[in-house]
């Protein structure tokens, strides 16, 4: 826990000031991840929202395993092994590269096996999750520091996020949001009716690749910064909550981002008031946003 008894008396303003980068990162992810999650939901691939962050986690831990060798033989700017663990930009980029590489490898495997119809979608994603989970622990045995980092990510204790992590997250999520806004029409068309997209001379394969790259980057940087627990929740729960209230695709994107931001806001309150990990608190809050939709559906 970051909050011990001595911090319980810290004012809200001071807490916000102290953890401003973590809170900014959480809100940025709260808006961007659910929008990526909408595409996972409408393409009926939400389970990938569970498997892909696990691949990213395995990638981060693998990066730690390789880190001493990498610094000695390839180098990481002028960063030493000790500095590489302190959250410098060079280290962030190094870990992001491994998280992205593993995420894209997992995504490519899921897409490739899906096209060859190897088993059901759920079965393939479950198998992918099992493999990525096992890989995380195996790599963790080779790098206790990496294992410790992964455990911290899994706990969802994200208040330690600093300026460097926030900047990396902001750049990637900003680029992802820009791409979603710029290409939203084509991405929706290709997801909804691929054949018509092709008849309209749209490069369906290129747009699907773009969508996978965006989702892969969002998952990689989100996992590395905020951890898989919070990312699972933000990719899956706000889109689910938003679906109940959306009467158009435009509303779906706006509401998903809105529910994500609301979940982060509620999660911060829960975390600060009850002294609980922020990531898990955000997921719990996101689950609460489902309730009005379920209640309305029962009427």
């Amino acid at each position: 826990m970051l909050f011990d008894d001595s911090l319980a008396d810290v004012s809200w303003a001071d807490r916000i000031s102290l953890f401003r980068w973590a809170l900014a990162a959480a809100f940025a992810a709260g808006i961007a991840c659910p929008i990526a999650g909408v595409f996972l939901a409408v393409r009926r691939t939400s389970f990938q929202g569970i498997a892909l962050p696990q691949f990213a986690t395995a990638g981060v831990v693998f990066g730690f395993v390789l880190l001493p060798w990498w610094i000695e033989h390839i180098g990481l700017g002028d960063v030493s092994a000790a500095d590489a663990l302190s959250g410098s930009h060079a280290a962030m980029n190094y870990h992001l590269a491994w998280a992205a590489a593993f995420t894209f490898a997992g995504l490519a495997a899921l897409v490739w096996t899906g096209r060859r119809s190897h088993g059901s979608e759920i079965g393939r994603v479950a198998a992918a999750f099992a493999i990525a989970n096992a890989a995380t622990y195996l790599f963790g045995r080779l790098s206790p520091i990496g294992k410790g980092h992964a455990d911290e990510l899994l706990t969802g204790e994200v208040l330690g996020v600093g300026l460097h992590e926030f900047e990396t997250l902001a750049v990637v999520l900003g680029a992802a949001l820009l791409a979603f806004v710029w290409f939203h029409r084509d991405l929706v068309l290709v997801s909804y009716d691929r054949e018509t997209a092709r008849v309209l001379a749209k490069r369906a394969g290129s747009f699907e690749l773009l969508l996978n790259v965006i989702i892969g980057l969002v998952v990689a940087v989100g996992t590395m910064t905020l951890g898989p627990t919070m990312l699972f929740g933000l990719l899956v729960l706000p889109p689910l909550a938003a679906r109940s209230w959306s009467r158009s695709m435009t509303q779906y994107f706006v509401f998903a981002g809105g529910f994500g931001a609301l979940a982060v806001l509620l999660g911060v309150v829960i975390s600060f008031e009850l002294d609980l990990p922020l990531g898990a608190s955000v997921v719990a809050a996101a689950a609460l946003t489902l309730l009005p939709g379920f209640a309305a559906a029962r009427r």
Partner: protein
């Protein structure tokens, strides 16, 4: 007459394996044609080849640039997308749009006119998934009209709709054909409907295509011969 689609000794298939071969076809403006045949005979393969979704394995396929409007089978469209009728119809203009900017006024007017043309002018804000099967089919025709086509290609347009909706869709297609000179090519397994509606037809069976006048080629006694030649599959 302008040729909108021409196939010369075209063959189509998958992974190098030919499914239909030696197809010759010339579709001119104002034509109304149907593709029919037994299940698994290659209708869909031929249709996908005509649409340009699969390349020809042999021969030539020529389509007039930007002339095609496509109406897919509505069952292939997932209701999980919370799309309004308007959003679905707007997709027909996506081939002309680039970037994020909103749909220009002229395109919105064309969408409204297309919806009015299919009798759903008041349903723009309705959820697409909330419509009946026949209404959804008409929305997809409106979307195809947004593509500003001269040739309309429809995949099983009356499959799974009731008799009333089927008559309504056929009446709409006949009007578009007669009044706007829109060429129409539809694929269907409903032989009676095709015989009554279209001028000419392509009978696809055993990898071969026969072309002819619909009423002659699909006359009941002729059909018995065709099905017997295919192996006696029931109609």
């Amino acid at each position: 007459m302008t040729s909108l689609l021409r196939l010369e000794h075209a063959a189509f298939g998958y992974a190098g394996r030919t499914v239909v071969a030696d197809v010759n076809l010339d579709v001119e403006s104002g034509a109304f044609l149907g593709i029919v045949g037994p299940n698994g005979a290659g209708k869909t393969t031929l249709f996908r080849g005509i649409l340009g979704l699969i390349p020809p394995l042999a021969g030539r396929v020529e389509r007039a640039h930007g002339a095609v409007g496509y109406v897919p089978q509505r069952e292939t469209l997932d209701p999980i997308f919370p799309l309004t009728v308007e959003e679905v119809v707007h997709m027909g203009a996506y081939g002309r749009l680039k970037g994020w900017r909103s749909l220009p006024r002229a395109e919105r007017d064309l969408a409204q006119a297309s919806l009015a043309r299919v009798g759903l002018g008041d349903s723009a804000r309705t959820a697409f998934s909330a419509l009946s099967g026949g209404q959804r089919q008409r929305v997809l025709i409106a979307r195809a009209l947004m593509m500003r086509p001269r040739l309309l290609l429809l995949d099983e347009p009356t499959s799974g709709v009731d008799r009333g909706a089927e008559a309504h869709i056929l009446e709409l297609l006949l009007e578009l054909n007669r009044e706007q000179g829109l060429a129409i090519l539809l694929v269907s397994h409903q032989i009676g409907m095709v015989r009554d509606a279209v001028q000419g037809c392509l009978w696809v069976a055993d990898g071969k295509v026969q072309a002819g006048d619909a009423r002659t080629l699909l006359a009941p006694e002729r059909l018995d011969e065709l099905y017997a030649a295919h192996g006696g599959e029931e109609r």
